[in-house]
Each structure stands twice: as C-alpha cells, then as structure tokens.
C-alpha cells in the first residue's frame, strides 16, 4: 500500500469526491487484475461508490484461473516421476483433487517455492542429476520471464529443466466474459502489469466490438481512483475509448522484445480455465522448438486429468464476477485463508482472499 498522497494529501479526497458526485448512467466496472482487487479492497473503496456504480473482481488472479487439472498434474509429477517441482508459493497451497503441493512437500515430496523461473533454473543447476519442473502460471506478465529462462536454458544446453505451462492469454478471457449472458460488464479497469507487455492498444478491438470503455490503471490508490474517474467520464459522455492512465509504465504498443520472446517460445492453444471453461486460443503451450523443455510432452504423455472444482466452491462464479465473494455460502465460514476451499481464497490476490483479509466492518 502506498501513500503517494503524502506530498499532496488532498489528491485522494479530490479524486474520491469526484467519483462520489458522479451522476451518469449506472456503470459496472470489472477490475481485471488481482493486484487491483487487493488494492481496492485494502482502501475500502467499494463502500464509497455512488449508487449505480459498482466494481466487480475479474479473472486476473493467475493462481485462481489455473484449473484443478494443473495442480493434479504437478502433484502426480512430484509423487510418481521423482522430479523436483518448483513453483510460486501461492500455487503450493491450492487444493488439487485430493491434496495440495504443500501437503506433498510435508509428506517428503520435493516441492520448492520460488519467486521466478530463473530461481527454478538455478535449482536445476544445483541438482544436475535430478529433473526440475517449473509450474508456469499467469498472464503476459509472467510468461515472458519464463520464455527468457527457457532460451537461457537452451543456450546453456541444460537438459534437466522443463516447464509445465499453464500460462494464459488475457484477451480471450475478457472477451469470454463479455459474451457470457450471466455476466454484466459495462467497462474494464485494465491491468497495469500485463499492459506493460501488451500495450494499451490491444484493448481497442474489444472496446469497439462490445462498446466497453477501458482504462489502463496503475496500482497506487490515486492511480486507481484516477482511472475510475476516467471511466466514469466516458460513461457520462456516452463515449467508448481505450485510455491509458498509467503512461509512466504502459506504452501504446507494449514491450516488443517481450512479445517477441512469447512468439518464439510459446504457441497459442485452446485452454481450460477455472470458472470460464475451455476457451479457444487462450493458453500458451511451448512451441516445437522448445519441445524438449515441455514437461507435458516429456513426463505426461498419456496422462490426462479432467478434474472438477472442489464441492461447494463458487470460484467459477466469483472469477466471472457473477457473484461477489461474500455471496458464496462458504465464504468466511467453511472457507478462510487458514483453511481455504477454493483457489480464490488461497491466493493473496484472489478475490475471496482479498475480500476476506480486508473485509469492512
């Protein structure tokens, strides 16, 4: 949490005031990014929005949208294939069908939390007689770093490192939500990090096709409030534009070298999402050039999981913005960060986790 307003204590209030005086048509804004969800929950913004304006949490939490299958695959690898699993800490706690990677680790399995693919690659170099599999999760924010590590591995001739890719393409998920009859979205608060790679122009096609104003936002409280003001201004004048409220980090065309890395190392495939199901062209699988580094091709041929959500968990509806976390019957009762039922409660940027941690009183 930041205090950019320290130098200008009035700024936040000015921005908030303007939001509260909004008198345009009703507007449901989806914040796509999990980091925005956390920031919004922490500053307690929802309670202050004027009548008719609401914020929905979207599918932008990488661990949350990863389907149970991936965790089952990782658990299978750790148990049956004698490999070292490296992954992000949050991913270790997500329940698979029967157990979680954290429990596998507690039972003696070799599962290590890492902060980046580079750490995982280092791990493989420290354990040259073992296979290290990195579970790659997330959007265009994290996938370029995986691509970079894979190119490094290839250049170095590393042969005991591979990636189980569950990487996702952001835009198809946004479009799927716009097409979903159960979901009502009038505008998008677009993610800051992913947009650094993708550039802000990539949202124009959706904005035009579906008439959804979209604004790219930074992460500081005042940056989020500013972007919301820009969305409200568009709504009031009946405009539909893509605007960039985070120009210090996001450019029009994005980061071309990162995009080139993605192009080389991955190929887009149909992919299953928690909550959204199978979406065409929405996943990143390793390209044929990197087939030797593809854990799925190396260790999982013939193995197929088609697992379903934990019983009673409404993550599917939460991730689509159909219900707010508190509307899930298990929220804060059977399901808490200490003993999570679904992925949305596990992850620090999952909607349920953020709403629980920073719940209003």
């Amino acid at each position: 949490m930041s205090h950019p307003d320290r130098s200008d204590p009035g700024l936040l209030n000015k921005l908030l005031d303007k939001i509260r005086r909004y008198d345009g048509p009703p507007l449901t804004i989806m914040e796509v990014c999990g980091t925005h969800t956390v920031s919004i929950a922490r500053m307690g913004l929802s309670a202050l929005l004027p009548k008719g304006v609401s914020l929905l949490s979207g599918p932008g939490c990488p661990v949350c949208v990863t389907p149970v299958d991936i965790f089952d695959e990782a658990i299978y690898l750790a148990r049956e294939k004698d490999v070292i699993i490296a992954t992000y800490g949050d991913a270790m706690r997500v329940p698979g069908s029967e157990t979680s990677l954290l429990e596998v680790k507690a039972g003696g399995g070799e599962v290590y939390p890492v902060y980046s693919t580079t750490d995982a690659l280092d791990l493989s170099q420290k354990n040259k007689n073992r296979e290290v599999v990195f579970i790659g999760l997330g959007f265009e924010t994290t996938s370029p770093t995986v691509a970079h590590a894979l190119i490094t591995a290839k250049n170095l001739g590393v042969n005991n490192f591979s990636v189980l890719s569950a990487h996702k393409v952001l835009l198809p998920a946004m479009e799927a939500l716009l097409l979903d009859p159960e979901v009502k979205i009038d505008a998008f608060l677009c993610p800051g990090h992913a947009s650094m790679v993708l550039g802000w122009r990539c949202y124009e096609e959706l904005a035009e096709k579906y008439g959804t104003p979209s604004v790219v936002a930074g992460f500081e409280p005042h940056e989020i409030l500013l972007a919301i003001n820009m969305l409200l201004a568009q709504a009031k004048e009946g405009a539909v534009r893509v605007e960039n409220a985070y120009p210090k980090a996001v450019s029009e065309e994005g980061n071309t070298s990162a995009l080139n890395l993605l192009e080389r190392v991955f190929k887009k495939v149909d992919s299953k999402w928690r909550g959204l199901g199978m979406l065409p062209g929405s996943g990143y699988e390793l390209s044929d050039e990197f087939a030797d580094y593809d854990a799925r091709r190396r260790f999982l041929s013939g193995v197929k999981f088609d697992s379903s959500e934990p019983a009673g968990c409404s993550c599917a509806d939460v991730l689509r913005g159909v219900i707010a976390p508190a509307q899930c019957p298990l929220f804060a009762k059977r399901c808490t960060p200490k003993d999570p039922v679904g992925a949305c409660m596990v992850s620090s940027e999952g909607a349920c986790g953020a709403h629980y941690r920073y719940r209003e009183v």
Binding site: M1, S2, G44, D90, E349, R359, E360
Partner: protein
Amino acid sequence: MQKRITTAHGGGGEEMRELISGLFFKYFSNPYLEKLNDFAKVDISSRRIALSTDSFVVEPWSFPGGNIGDLAVCGTVNDISMSGATPLYLTCGFILPEGMPLEDLEEIVSAMARRASEAGVLIVTGDTKVVGRGAGPFINTAGVGAVPDGIDIGGEMAKVGDEVIVTGAVGSHGIAVLSKREGLSFSTEVLSDCAPLNKMVAALIENGIIPKVLRDPTRGGVAGALNEISVQSGVEIEIEDEAIPIEQGVRSACDMLGYDPLHIANEGCMLVVVSQKDAQRALELIQSCKYGEGAARIGRIAEGAPRVTAKTLLGTKRLVDPPSGELLPRIC
C-alpha cells in the same frame, strides 16, 4: 587454510577450550564467564525478575543490516524489556554445523558482543555443540532482568481510551531476510531494523511514563501483535493505515510479493500502549531515543469486541487479521 568448526570443538576437550578462550573470551570477556564454571552466579537487587528464552534459526545467518548474532542478543534483550524490566545477564548456547568457517563464527560472536555492550548486558555462561553439516548455525539465548518496583506491564492492561505508538518503520527485518534468502533485489535495499530496545523502555520509565503494554512485533508482525493485545485485554484496537510508518523499499517489496507490511516481522521496533494523557510525551521521548526517530502514533483502544480495525486511506473501516500460514512467495 581456512579454519573450520570440527566435531572436536564441541567435544569438551582441548579444541573446545581453545575456542572458548580464543574466541568467546576475546569478545564476551567478563568475570562471570571467565570463572569457567558451568554456571554463573550473579547478583540481582530486585524483588522481581523477568526471564526469557528464544532460539534463533534464521536462514541465511547473515542478512542486510545484521546477522544471527545481532538477533540472538537483541531478541532476548527485547523480550525481557517488554516487561519493563532492565535486562542484565544473558546465557548463550551455540549449535554449530561441522565445517562452518571459524571466520563466520567470529563475525557472529563479534556482533553479539557489540549488541550486548550497546544494551549493557553481560553474557555470563554458555554452551557449544557441534552437529553434522547441512543446517545452522543456531543460537539460543536466555536472559534475566530486574523488574523495577511498581511496574506492571502486560498485554492484558490496555484500556479504552489508551493510545498506540509504534516506535519505528515496520516490516524491514522480514523483507531484509527475504531479499537475501531469495536473492531478490528491490529498487531500494532494505536493511533489518534489528536493535536493542531496552534503553528506549528505560527512557519512558525513568521519565515517569509507565506504558500499559509493550510488545515487540516479531513473527506475525504488527497485525499479529495487535490482535494478541486486543484478545488479552478484551478491547478493540483501531489503527489508521495512513499513520503507520513504512519505508518505501518495504512498501514496494510487499506490493511486488503480495505481502501486507503489517504481517512482516520486525526486530527493532515495538508497540507501546499508553494512556491518552501520556501519549504525546511518550512519543517525544521515544523519538529522542536512538531507534525511535521514526516513531508514530498509529491508533487507539476503543470499546468493542476484541478485534483490530484500520481506518483506510479513504476513511472506511476494515478488519486487520493476523497473518495465517507461512509467508510464501507469490506470483506477480
């Protein structure tokens, strides 16, 4: 050749005596220790004493802003100080891995000596064991302090209307260790805040300000410590997000890793609950102390069910939960 710890150093023979006289005496020299007994006899002229023990297993043993030796002394000094007592004597047990360079041990021991002298405590007896390679070094320290008459400080003493002060920026220790452990570099280097707090406690008491509660928010961070106090005292604690001092480096590391600075461990700041009438004076006294420049009034004790709430930047009110589970890295 580099000298290393061998099993002989824990074996009770010649090598161990060499280690004791060559290294430990060199740094911890005092008459109690040099008697070479398995015990230390000390004088304490106080009706009540405070005792505490803590084991230190930090990995890696050295981190930006300190090492395990700094922690081993400051940690126990601070635990004793949180009762209002004046810490006097420490004991110290080392569990060292075979193969550890003696140079590293010297770095740790010299840090302990520096901190002990800064805090005005003596390390009066100790023990050394050597174990197989792979883990450690570990250190246990225990300590004793004299509780001044009439001082009754404890987590159960907070009353409605009291104020809460934090004596320095929060979250630095945990982030410093993490940055070293995971080889992360953040835009600004974050140093551990590790420091002895006994002088600060003494400054308050000597000036007639008797805190209700003192608590060093180590593991569990400020959120954990405040929740404990609220339960012990059966009160609501209201803090203000805006008022909590957090260094920019800690802030950005937490943003990046998905942590809440209020959940991160500290080793050189404390929470002070004082009556409202004492609050301003207490703040000024703390700010005039060596580790208190960054102190701030962050909230107050309110009527209500035991819980901790925070006024958000925008003026709404949210719950502050203690952290749950191990802090693990996350994805964005």
